[in-house]
């Protein structure tokens, strides 16, 4: 059923780009498709466009649902819609599936024109900067010179930040939620465990598992399980599952006993059933590589000097994967550059995943900031 304030039935669109895209890794994509969705109307001045960038497991399907699959509701539907904080009656909102993805945009599952077979492990490394480049070409195609805002959570926030550095004149506002200017060693370490789970799965076949008619589901499941733990907080897991036992007492088995085990296995299986292992590998690497301060000797303030956008930075108190400290680094680097910046640290028990929830204060912060944006 379509909820009130929903954008309703939506349909993905595909834009084909036949001009090669040179990637940071040195690789080249000779041509590619980007799958995207839009909500609301682009105004006559073309000044009300907002780009929503997705994180690791997201996609172009930000809001609404599909006519043939009404249960498939967009991943940020609680935020985007008529009358919602990102109000589609004011803004023209775009969601894009990033290159290397597995939701229709050209990625490892696509055919490599050079070989006629699936790219698989041969798909070139893509970075946050490459994604922004591809998104900019889509913006050109849609006739959008300047975004009223680029918005994203987690890895999506990194893209929003990168937009303001790669195309400072094309972004009026950056909203970086539960994000970071770069990953810490601990954060990269979690990604590496996830990758090793996939890479060591016998069904991975060096990334060319498609030809063997299998998927490295065990590796992908483990990767998701470890990731999922880090997206939640100790408190939220404790509150949700505690030490609840399925059989009410220990039965001394490696099958599911504690409810948390059941939950993790379910989440892992669900994810492994639809997500692409190569996309997971590529995306975690893109996360690890992102560090705009690298070319400035680690000086984030020097890196952000290029940006001219106004910023809203938001973090969550129990997010230990993208901790408030990381968001504060962004804030103080912007203050150093005398940029307009607002920063909210939301009290939330739900860890990193808080950014996807519809906590009233969190949404009010986004609503009030977005309402100030002139279009």
């Amino acid at each position: 059923m379509i909820q009130p304030q929903s954008v309703g039935i939506v349909a993905p669109l595909t834009a084909h780009f036949s001009e090669a895209l040179k990637l940071r890794s040195g690789g080249v994509l000779p041509e590619y498709d980007l799958v995207y969705e839009t909500y609301g109307e682009l105004n006559a001045a073309r000044s009300n466009a907002v780009l929503v960038c997705h994180a690791l497991s997201g996609s172009h399907h930000v809001a609404g649902c599909y006519a043939d699959d009404p249960a498939n509701v967009g991943w940020w539907d609680n935020l985007v819609g008529p009358g919602k904080p990102l109000d589609t009656e004011r803004f023209f909102v775009i969601g894009v599936n990033n290159l290397g993805g597995c939701h229709g945009t050209t990625g490892p599952r696509s055919i490599n024109p050079a070989s006629g077979r699936c790219w698989g492990a041969d798909f070139p490394f893509v970075t946050v900067e490459d994604w922004v480049e591809a998104q900019a070409r889509l913006a050109d195609r849609l006739g959008i010179e300047r975004f009223a805002a680029v918005l994203g959570g987690s890895l999506g926030g990194m893209q929003a930040i990168s937009w303001s550095l790669q195309y400072p004149e094309r972004v009026a506002n950056v909203l970086a939620v539960a994000s970071a200017p770069k990953l810490t060693a601990q954060n990269i370490a979690f990604n590496e465990v996830a990758r090793q789970a996939i890479l060591s799965d016998p069904d991975f076949h060096g990334g060319h598992f498609y030809e063997h008619g299998v998927v490295p589901a065990r590796g992908l499941k483990l990767a998701r399980m470890i990731g999922h733990i880090t997206y939640l907080s100790d408190d939220s897991l404790g509150e949700k599952f505690g030490r609840s036992l399925r059989h009410g007492k220990a039965v001394y088995s490696y099958d599911v006993e504690f409810e948390i085990e059941s939950y993790l296995r379910y989440q892992g299986d669900k994810f492994a059933g639809h997500f692409d292992a190569n996309t997971y590998l590529l995306t975690t690497k893109a996360l690890d590589y992102f560090d705009p301060s690298f070319e400035h000797g680690g000086n984030l303030a020097a890196a952000l000097a290029r940006s001219s956008a106004d910023f809203l930075v938001v973090s969550f108190s129990t997010d230990w994967r993208f901790a408030p400290e990381r968001s504060r680094e962004i804030v103080y680097a912007l203050v150093h550059n005398r940029r307009n910046v607002c920063y909210a640290e939301i009290e939330s028990a739900a860890g990193h995943d808080s950014f996807l929830l519809d906590d009233a204060h969190y949404h009010a912060v986004l609503r009030n900031y977005l309402a100030r944006i002139k279009v």
Binding site: L312, V331, Y332, N340, V341, C342, E345, R372
Partner: protein, 195 residues
Amino acid sequence: MAYRYDFDVITQWIQAGERVLDLGCGDGSLLRHLMAQRQIQGYGVENDPDNLLACLEHGINVIQVDLEKGLAGFEDGFFDHVVMSLSLQAIHNTQGILAEMLRVGHEAVVSFPNFGYWRHRQSILNGRMPVSESLPHQWFNTPNVRFFTIADFEALCEFNGIAVRERLAFDDGKRIDEEPNFLASVAVYRLGRQL
């Protein structure tokens, strides 16, 4: 929050185009006043969710910080003025925040309710904690945690090597030059680092 007369004093100490940090900026009304009167570049610090929302609504650069944890992150000497209007009495770490204000700012501007005001003294003599325009809360729900007078504050400045560059005291919006510790309900200070 209604227009407050300490705003006028603070405004006269701020030059056009300054960088100003307002600690406990509330709904951002002082910053808006200074932006309109002095074209400052202002940042506000708040930790109350509702005040934060009000600042966002008004387009104020508001940064959520718990002032008890200091101002780590702001650079030394970055601001021309760091202002704290009627909030010092609500902070536990009095000495820490004063030191931080003078670390990140060239000057600090501080205003606070004077607990030594004669009506407050009279109230205590009559056996009740003072409640007044400058101390609007009851003892059981006040956000204030430090209770000090003009004389107490100046002794602390002396003790901590803080230079009092200027002091203006008021009772109900009227300037008080004689016996301010007795006759003024609110004091506003311009502070610097002792050379």
